[in-house]
């Protein structure tokens, strides 16, 4: 049903909006597709290049999303770590050490904007996304890119941009460029056997 719906929606939207606002409509379409996702769970592989490190750090594990804004990132290698962003707290657990720490995301405007940016994109909430970021949309519904640049100066001190790549309702890659030059590229692929 979804593919039929998607096709129909694409046609209707293309007809309604016309070619002049193709980019607008593409963004709206993608957001609408994303907003229909109830839950997802994918495997990730993340490469971090950081000034403090002599070689890239590669993490892998599972990323889960539940509609309503709960995001869980389970690092499985090279160490175990579970991070849950839910509401206004971020919980970081280290099963190996049996420790967990909880951070208030609202305590820092930058942390809050970062979490809201993730949630708004995964949940397809365009209005929320626009409150925190300037948005550049590129490509087509089949192969889209979404680049977010923080509006808030405080946040811009830490974060240059976040880039999402995707296809339809599927996000395939998330890139984070920090202001200090550190970069993270997280590649997502659907759960295989």
């Amino acid at each position: 049903m979804t593919s039929l719906y998607r096709a129909l929606a694409a046609c209707l939207l293309a007809l309604a909006c016309g070619a002049a606002s193709a980019q607008q409509s593409g963004l709206a379409q993608v957001m609408r597709l994303l907003s229909a996702v109830q839950a997802s769970s994918v495997r990730f592989s993340e490469t971090k290049r950081m000034a403090a490190l002599s070689e890239p750090l590669v993490l892998s594990g599972r990323l889960s999303y539940l509609r309503g804004g709960r995001i869980e990132k389970d690092v499985e290698a090279p160490y175990l770590e579970r991070t849950v962003i839910d509401g206004d707290t971020m919980l970081v657990e280290s099963p190996a050490r049996g420790e967990s720490r909880s951070y208030s995301l609202r305590a820092s405007p930058a942390a809050w904007a970062f979490a809201e940016g993730l949630r708004a994109t995964l949940g397809g909430d365009l209005a929320l996304l626009e409150r925190y970021y300037r948005i550049t949309f590129g490509g087509s519904v089949e192969h889209w890119t979404l680049e977010l640049a923080p509006r808030d100066e405080e946040m811009a001190r830490y974060l240059r941009s976040i880039e999402f790549h995707g296809s339809g309702a599927q996000i395939t890659q998330i890139g984070v460029n920090e202001a200090g030059g550190n970069t993270t590229v997280m590649t997502l692929r659907p759960d295989g056997p």
Binding site: S54, Y79, E81, D88, A107, A110, N182
Partner: protein, 770 residues
């Protein structure tokens, strides 16, 4: 007018002018700690120091509510910015930065001496390996760049470990500023530079907060809530001042109307005010001279004196018969009037002897005002007032009550049974009899007190109530004793007896602890070796940790942290509030947060047997202190009554006579005292004062009722004069009973209940019952 009379009038005018001058310049205070005793032992000194100067007392708690969260956060930031540049405030915080830039720099600089995590093993190869692994994970976590800044110089995270070890991260933070848990109120705290007892400075600080808020946030439609001891004191001063002024006016107007009705003569009515106006001017001047200032409460009390002291001229004018000069009338009634004045003065004297400064003020005011009013009635009034006898017939309706006294037997029986009832009431509910909470003296409405408690809980600010006091001969020992208490305090937190605590040694560890931490730092070669071993297999850039190696070496070979290093920072300010010299020894305070069950807490604390440490429950201690002064006052009142008895025995020529006069009055006072707790207002010190006043006025009635009249006309005049006097007292006490200030209301109600009883009982027990 004879030359002697002229001289008397001139002396009176000169004294009146002088006292009016002094009185008009008297400074009015409303600091309730001014009502605390002047002579203090060491514990009490500390208590008063805390109440007046303590950091909790200097804190103004601020809430902004009534707008969208964005607007509230904006208003909070704007207000904090404005206040932080104000000279009135030493420290302002809205959560944007829990510690200012200066504090962060200090923590960075001294982290190896401050951090509780610095201990042997922390910087071994194994310890460092653990730290580096954690640092790597932090770096790789979402927001890692933000959370793990400074990894090169502080890979073990000592600065963060220290900041996180400090108590109570404070309220919830939203959009970077403090908010109440429900998100409806943005929260700030501002600490004034001035002590809480410096009311003028507190008033400036409060108005600065208000104007800064109006300038920055008025447009958003948000509203401001202020609380805290200083803000309350400022408000209560305003309330008491307004109260004292308006009540004096109301009391004065009511008495004026009554006298105009009775005398139908402007000249006589005005003359009635001459003695009391002279008396109050002299009284205020004397209090101002003796105490340096006059308390608003004393001033309010002056209002009730209006009622009593117009008595004296009224006795004179109403006893004046057709064709008689005032001097001739005085010759008749002076012996009785003199006793009436002197007994009241004795009542004031017993209050003056109290070591409770507030009572001594009231006593001096009462004594001097009554004495001067009596003297002016005796020596000045006959020279300046006209003799205009009043026809009692016109005022007959006023005397209707005296029908009651035609049945003295049942009335006496009633008086005795009322007494028995009052005693029974007191015996059955002894707990409800006395209330020694100093806070209840405050006129602050309950709603605002509740608002204060809410704000305090939301801000997680320390209670004004509970604090542990650690004393030692020297600063270092005070810090060490405070450090030694920490494990026990942690257990109290764990057992939920308290929610948290702060100590001076968190900010300035004792030298011994600092040395121990320094000793845990390895020397440069050893640290470099351990680090190389720890970093093996981890992807950190080579030579990344050079800043770390330098800074550990600097801490290892550098000086210890001294109070002077903290000067000018928020931490330094906090330290000054928590650690200070007092009377030749050092005091380290440990304010407790969320101490619910003080009884259980106190028991656990006693069991620690911590040297030099005691748990100070400010509320209970002030209550205890007040209770001590209450018993002292009770004893003094007893003495005062004994003295009155002696005076009456001398004046009336026999103990029997004296007892006959005193008995109905004491009965009336006892019944009034028994009635008040039944009416739901437990007795305070100030009720005692009011009862003393009831005894003073009641004795006037009783004295005149026991005087043998020459004829029926004089009897009628006596009855009329006493009725008018009682009505005048009721007018002024009624005004006081309307007061918003609990103390003044208490006095008003007591007098309102006691005085008519005294009149009726005097009539019933008097030798010359009508």
């Amino acid at each position: 007018m004879t030359r002697r009379a002229l001289a008397v009038v001139l002396v009176w005018l000169a004294l009146l002018a002088a006292s009016a001058l002094v009185a008009s310049r008297a400074r009015i205070t409303s600091d309730f700690t001014a009502f605390l005793p002047a002579r203090l032992d060491a514990d009490q000194a500390l208590l008063v120091h805390q109440l007046r100067e303590g950091v909790a007392a200097r804190m103004i708690l601020i809430g902004i509510s009534g707008a969208a969260p964005d607007a509230l956060a904006g208003a909070s930031r704007a207000l904090a910015r404005r206040l932080s540049v104000s000279a009135e405030f030493a420290y302002v915080n809205n959560g944007e930065a829990r510690f200012g830039a200066a504090d962060r720099a200090l923590v960075e600089r001294w982290r190896y001496l401050l951090s509780p995590a610095v201990a042997p093993g922390r910087f071994s190869a194994a310890g460092l390996r653990d730290s580096l692994q954690r640092a790597l994970e932090a770096l790789a976590s979402p927001l890692g760049g933000m959370l793990a800044g400074g990894i090169a110089s502080d890979p073990t995270g000592e600065a963060r470990a220290y900041l996180e070890s400090l108590p109570a991260a404070g309220p919830d933070t939203r959009q970077g500023v403090w908010f109440s848990p429900d998100g409806r109120r943005a929260l700030l705290v501002a600490e004034t530079r001035a002590a809480a007892s410096d009311l003028d400075a507190q008033a400036r600080a409060v108005s600065e907060v208000r104007s800064a808020f109006a300038a920055s946030a008025g447009a958003h439609g948000a509203s401001l809530t202020l609380s805290g001891p200083g803000a309350f004191a400022v408000e209560s001063r305003a309330l008491i001042r307004a109260d004292a002024q308006s009540l004096s006016l109301i009391a004065g107007a009511a008495v004026l109307a009554l006298l105009l009705f009775v005398y139908r003569s402007v000249a006589l009515t005005l003359a009635c005010f001459v003695p009391i106006a002279s008396g109050i001017a002299a009284g205020i001047a004397l209090v101002a001279l003796a105490f340096g200032s006059i308390h608003g409460i004393s001033l309010g009390f002056a209002a009730i004196l209006f009622g009593e002291a117009v008595d004296y001229p009224s006795y004179l004018f109403l006893h004046n018969q057709p064709g008689e000069t005032l001097r001739a009338t005085l010759a008749r009634i002076w012996p009785t009037l003199r006793l009436a004045v002197l007994t009241t003065v004795l009542g004031g004297l017993s209050m003056l002897l109290s070591s409770f400064a507030g009572l001594a003020q009231l006593g001096l005011l009462l004594m001097s005002a009554i004495l001067v009013a009596g003297l002016v009635t005796r020596y000045v009034l006959p020279e300046i007032a006209p003799a205009r006898p009043v026809a009692p017939a016109r005022l007959a309706p006023l005397l209707g009550w005296s029908a009651l006294a035609r049945h003295p037997r049942p009335l006496r029986a009633l008086a005795w049974s009322a007494l028995a009832l009052a005693i029974a009431a007191g015996a059955l509910r002894p707990g409800a009899l006395w209330d020694d909470d100093l806070g209840k003296l405050n006129p602050i409405p309950d709603a605002e007190r509740r608002a204060d408690q809410e704000l305090r809980a939301e801000l997680k600010a320390p209670d004004v109530g509970a604090v542990i006091v650690v004393r030692a001969p020297g600063r270092e020992l005070a810090l060490e004793r405070s450090e030694a208490l920490e494990p026990a305090l942690q257990r109290l937190v764990h057992d939920r007896l308290i929610a948290g605590f702060e100590t001076a040694s968190d900010i300035l560890p004792s030298e011994a602890l600092q040395r121990a931490r320094r000793a845990a730092l390895p020397d440069a070669p050893a640290l470099r070796r351990a680090l190389a071993q720890a970093a093996q297999g981890l992807p950190f850039r080579p030579r990344l940790f050079e800043p770390f190696l330098r800074e550990v070496e600097r801490a290892r070979s550098g000086p210890l942290l001294e109070p002077a290093d903290l000067r000018g920072s928020g931490l330094g300010l906090k330290l000054d509030a928590l650690l200070f010299p007092l009377r030749g020894e050092w005091v380290a305070l440990i304010p407790l947060r969320g101490a619910g069950d003080l009884g259980a807490l106190s028991a656990r604390f006693q069991a620690l047997h911590a040297p030099g440490a005691m748990l100070l429950d400010l509320r209970r201690e002030t209550g205890r202190m007040i209770a001590r002064y209450r018993s002292q006052t009770l004893a003094l009142t007893g003495l005062g009554i004994a003295a009155m008895f002696g005076l009456l025995t001398w004046g009336l020529g026999g103990a029997r006579e004296a007892a006959r006069v005193l008995l109905p009055v004491l009965l009336a006072a006892a019944v009034a005292a028994g009635m008040l707790p039944l009416l739901g207002s437990p007795l305070t010190l100030f009720h005692l004062v009011a009862l003393l006043f009831v005894v003073g006025t009641g004795l006037n009635y009783s004295l005149f009722f026991n005087r043998v009249p020459r004829d029926a006309g004089e009897r009628r005049r006596t009855l009329l004069s006493l009725t008018v006097c009682c009505l005048a007292v009721l007018c002024s006490a009624g005004a006081l009973a309307l007061s918003a200030t609990p103390v003044l209301r208490a006095i008003g109600l007591t007098v309102l209940a006691g005085t008519p009883l005294a009149l009726v009982f005097s009539a019933a027990f008097g030798r010359d019952a009508p």
